[in-house]
Amino acid sequence: MSTTHAFVSVRGLRTRFGSLRAVDGVDLDIARGEVLGLVGESGSGKTTLGRTILGLTPATEGTISFDGRDMVTMDRAARRGLRRKMQMVFQDPHASLSPRLRISYLLTEPYEINHVADRDRSSVGALLEMVELPPDLASKYPHELSGGQARRVGIARALALRPDFLVFDEPTSGLDVSAAAAVLNLVKDLCDRFQLTYLIITHNLSVLSFVADRIAVMYLGQLVEVGPAEQVLDAPAHPYTKGLLSAVSEPDPRQRSRSHRLLLPGEIPSPRNPPPGCRFHTRCRYAQERCRREPPIVEEVEAGQRVACHFWDVVRADSRDEVAGDQGELDTSRPLT
């Protein structure tokens, strides 16, 4: 990956809460106009990484640069101006929208907080239109909205300041399938329409398969695999990525007979006390003695695909075999369970 075109660039980033190392040495670049998906289980540190990049949570160590300018060393006024260009869309809209304020107020609040001049403001009607909501919603309160509508208001609020970079935290969690599909379509349309750059945080890879250009996989504060979405989804080279993929319930009952259905056993260990060596070794079916002692280094295994695993070549070969196998054996006569 080249640093020259990076719009958002993160180097050696660490975020600690006391002894808890939520983000523990992350290097990541996001190109302008790119949609980067960040995936991992609860406790992987993905939300903290997103918040740290936006400056909502202070970094303990490392650098974050935005459009070539270092956020950490710049003065406060400049940083404040720059932060307007980077916004977060929060996971639970009902928790982030004050229940006592009308939608019209919630949408213009960012202007008041940031003392935005009138000529730089979008009207409430225009903001609602951007997220495909009817204008009469302006006079309503958050509790009168459906889950999908509230999610759109959260997006409109983030768009109000005309940002260049948006971080979405679980954009579709808790939504019905149709509402989730509509929100994902909208998110993607907005990206194209306003030439936005996205970081989309989720635990569900199937969300990313639709929207992401590249995917970064996070485990216990570190990135274990980063690469173009196609490569990561079709030929994952880290066993954790493979585990996450196998856990996705595809809406296709024929895939139940996949013999390679790999369950990711157990739960993510505490980030207060991560396992020695490779942090994933306690749950990894490829783990050898070496993994318990020696942390893997990040290797570029293919153009743009970086992986931190001692045995990435074995893992990737397995992934490729399985994809090939899937295409050959769609045996519907087999019993389903």
């Binding site: 289980e41 609860s42 406790g43 459906s146 889950g147 808790g174 019905d176 399938v177 149709s178 509402a179 989730a180 599909a181 509509a182 994902l184 379509n185 993607k188 635990h203 569900n204 890879l205 199937s206 969300v207 398969s209 639709f210 979405a229 196609e230 989804l233 585990g243 996450l244 196998s246 856990a247 996705v248 319930s249 595809e250 809406p251 296709d252 009952p253 024929r254 895939q255 139940r256 369950l263 990711l264 056993p265 157990g266 739960e267 519907t332 389903l336 369970t337």
Partner: protein, 357 residues
């Protein structure tokens, strides 16, 4: 609650007693069930003519958007409807018993050892002020009579181990907040299984969990069905989960069944336009990059149900007839569909392609 009179057979009810495949004795037999919510706006029909069966060892998935009546259905079976909910018609047979003619005390004795339920949010069902052990022992106490505490505790530990709680004998002395979300959901399942129910009703049990924990819980449910023959009514809005877990699928819309059938044919060739639309809207790895199909509009409110086909206002194939006439549930080749434009001679609705936006 008004007790049901003789169910009046009509449409499918008359020919195919329970809108279901024949063969084998059903464990749960819901027949022509109507539920009404009484409110200031009048009597709102929450469930209409619900008929289906669940056989021993079978996993039936109930799917539909929020507001389709999925949770009302599970509350009605458990006889735990809110005070303004009333079962106005129909029958719910569980084995040999008619649940609608049981008194509150008999019903209470049934919940737990016969029918158990797990909910989406385990924190609402676990008491934060008692240890897990105390709650697991208590849950048995109500049904186990005078059994010694030590044996109830041993049983609780055993059950926690079975659902994959590590160091169960130590952790049994800790409180719900000391467990992760996935662990709490397992504890809920352990509690539901303590008394070895014949039927488990799972209402969105994995919706709040990470995909990895979800996959583990699904595996646990599969094992349960295999090893004990537990029947499961699995309520979900996630088509992926239903595709991976269930034997049959019941699609609900606006309080009634619009499609019912085996999982494989239903996913391969969904009959009802609503089922088609739900499947088309689910993101899959295979359909990468294409815009996702959505269903225009929203589930109608119970106070403003359309007169004819309830799905017609959102249906891509709706014709005038749908606005006037409510379709009946008809059978074709072991599958059931409620759609006016369904053609029994071909076995499919007029347009079969999945609508993409």
């Amino acid at each position: 609650m008004r007790l049901p009179t003789e169910p009046k057979g009509r449409s499918v009810g008359a020919e195919a007693p329970s809108a279901d495949r024949s063969g084998g004795d059903a464990l749960l037999n819901v027949h022509e069930l109507d539920v009404v919510y009484h409110g200031r706006g009048g009597h709102l029909p929450a469930l209409r003519e619900m008929s289906f069966q669940v056989h021993p060892g079978e996993i039936l998935g109930v799917i539909g958007e929020s507001g389709c009546g999925k949770s009302t259905l599970s509350s009605a079976i458990m006889r735990l409807l809110p005070p303004n909910g009333e079962i106005t018609r129909g029958s719910i047979r569980f084995g040999e018993r008619e649940l609608l003619s049981l008194g509150p005390e008999e019903m209470r004795r049934l919940r737990g050892p016969e029918i158990a339920m797990i909910f989406q949010d385990p924190l609402t069902s676990l008491n934060p002020t008692f240890t897990i052990g105390a709650q697991l022992v208590d849950a048995q106490r109500a049904h186990a009579g005078r059994a010694p505490r030590r044996s109830l505790r041993r049983r609780a530990i055993e059950m926690l181990e079975q659902v994959g709680i590590p160091d169960a004998s130590e952790r049994i002395g800790t409180y719900p907040h000391q467990f992760s979300g996935g662990m709490r959901q397992r504890i809920m399942i352990a509690m539901a299984l303590l008394l070895e129910p014949k039927l488990l009703i799972a209402d969105e049990p994995t919706s709040a969990l990470d995909v990895t924990l979800e996959a583990q819980i699904l595996e646990l449910l599969r094992r349960l069905r295999h090893e004990r023959g537990t029947a499961i009514l699995f309520i979900s809005h996630d088509l992926g989960v239903v595709a991976q877990l269930c034997d049959r699928i019941l699609v609900m819309y606006a309080g009634s069944t619009v499609e019912l059938g085996d999982v494989l044919p239903t996913f391969e060739r969904p009959l009802h336009p609503y089922t088609q639309a739900l499947i088309a809207a689910a993101p899959t790895r295979g359909r990468r990059g294409e815009p996702l199909a959505t269903i225009p509009g929203k589930v109608p409110s119970l106070s403003a149900l359309p007169t004819g086909c309830k799905f017609a206002p959102r249906c891509a194939h709706a014709q005038d007839v749908n606005l006037e006439r409510e379709p009946e549930l008809v059978e074709f080749d072991g599958r059931y569909v409620r759609c006016n434009i369904y053609d029994p001679s071909s076995g499919y609705v007029a347009t079969n392609e999945l609508q993409s936006r």
